[in-house]
């Protein structure tokens, strides 16, 4: 399916994905009852029934290491061959200094020539990091990168906040980027509406605040436009897309985006919670590049920002 668009000159892509979901789960049915939400609202609108919760003792870098261990069970990865790692997070280890990627670098015993840096983005972070890492590899002559996404919101969630307590889950992914025939990275569309940055923010009490209506408006208005621009710059049309991997902020926003784009409903696969920047790699991990050849990925949230791109197997 799709056009015979060559991406040979854009050969860096996603080669393999490892992931980690903490075993512990929050009982959202019980919490929804406490908030006076119906089960129908929980299942048909929120879509998250059992968000994952990391152990109190697990740090963000620990989640990254576990995702890396999972990656190594799927693909032979020699740490000596990694040119750069990034950690996409806004809930870093400790106080954020040193950067979490440096801690991961230490825990994995990576070589000193391997650079490490953090990317401070939320739900748009995975897609945006693909552009950043691809550019890094191209300009440094590197061959291999790992994008870690690990943003455990349980560090900042307020248990009694009806707007956020049911939605977010902890998790991490480790995505191996190299020249590949699996999913090549196409062109991007990204943007930020900074005037509304406070709509999703950590407040002075170190707890997450979300103005749900503003975030909803931002996503419902901007993401469909970003999808159209992304298709245009990749010389594709809606019918060329085999799968729309929208960030699962909630089941409702995914349903609204599908409706506003006039496409079939997109399955909501995140009963374990909105894992922020890890949510899209979690979805991609379930897809088979040989079958699902052309994927539109779109992350959106904190900033408020969006990042959309095309992934294509060849």
């Amino acid at each position: 399916m799709g056009k015979s668009l060559s991406m040979a000159s854009e050969a860096f892509g996603i080669h393999a994905i490892g992931s980690y979901l903490p075993v512990s789960r929050q009982d959202n049915f019980a919490l929804a009852k406490k908030f006076n939400f119906t089960e129908d609202f929980l299942c048909s609108k929120i879509g998250v029934t059992a968000p994952a919760r990391k152990l109190e003792t697990e740090e963000t870098s620990d989640l990254c290491v576990k995702a890396f261990e999972d990656l190594c069970t799927r693909e032979a990865v020699d740490p000596a061959d990694i040119d750069v790692i990034v950690v996409v997070t806004q809930n870093p280890d400790g106080h954020g200094l040193p950067h979490t990627s440096a801690v991961v670098h230490k825990k994995l015993g990576l070589p000193t020539r391997c650079f490490a840096f953090d990317i401070s983005l939320g739900c748009s972070g995975f897609v945006a990091s693909l552009a950043i890492v691809k550019g890094y590899l191209e300009t440094t002559g590197g061959a291999r990168a790992i994008v870690f996404t690990a943003d455990p919101y349980s560090k900042v969630l307020k248990e009694d906040d009806r707007n956020t307590a049911l939605i977010f889950g902890d998790g991490a992914a480790a995505t191996l980027i190299q020249r590949t025939q699996r999913w090549n990275i196409g062109r991007f569309d990204m943007g930020t509406e900074g005037q509304k940055c406070d709509a999703l923010s950590v407040r002075p009490d170190n707890k997450l605040f979300m103005n749900g209506r503003l975030v909803f408006d931002f996503c419902a208005i901007n993401v469909p436009k970003s999808v159209q621009r992304t298709l245009h710059v990749n010389d594709l049309s809606m019918r060329d897309i085999d799968y729309f991997a929208f960030h699962p902020g909630s089941k409702y926003i995914v349903d609204v985006l599908a409706a506003r784009l006039g496409i079939a409903p997109v399955p909501f696969l995140a009963e374990y919670g909105n894992t922020v920047s890890s949510s899209i790699p979690f979805i991609l991990k379930e897809l088979k590049p040989a079958v699902t050849r052309c994927v539109l990925v779109s992350g959106f949230g904190v900033g408020l920002s969006w990042a959309t791109a095309i992934l294509r197997s060849v």
């Binding site: 939400f37 609202f41 609108k45 709509a199 103005n211 749900g212 209506r213 503003l214 909803f216 408006d217 419902a220 208005i221 909630s250 409702y252 609204v256």
Partner: protein, 79 residues
């Protein structure tokens, strides 16, 4: 300017099989079975169909009448 019918149409747009015509103008949306996501969708629909811009915190616009009152305040008056 927003009319009562436009609000009812917006409710019907976001909630299939919901009898928006039967909803009393003073009825609280939540008590009438419209949740916070329905509310957000309805306000977005009204924004897109009427051009009305709602404030950042529009959660208090919890009835048809409250929306009509808000829109009335936004409408420029002749001097």
């Amino acid at each position: 300017m927003i009319t009562e019918q436009q609000v009812r149409d917006a409710i019907a747009h976001v909630r299939e099989n919901y009898d928006s015509q039967a909803l009393p103008v003073e009825a609280d949306f939540a008590e009438a079975g419209l949740d916070s996501l329905d509310h957000a969708s309805m306000l977005l629909n009204l924004q897109e169909t009427t051009g009305t811009v709602f404030s950042d915190d529009a959660s208090d616009l919890n009835s048809i009448q409250a929306i009509l009152d808000f829109a009335q305040q936004q409408t420029p008056h002749d001097t």
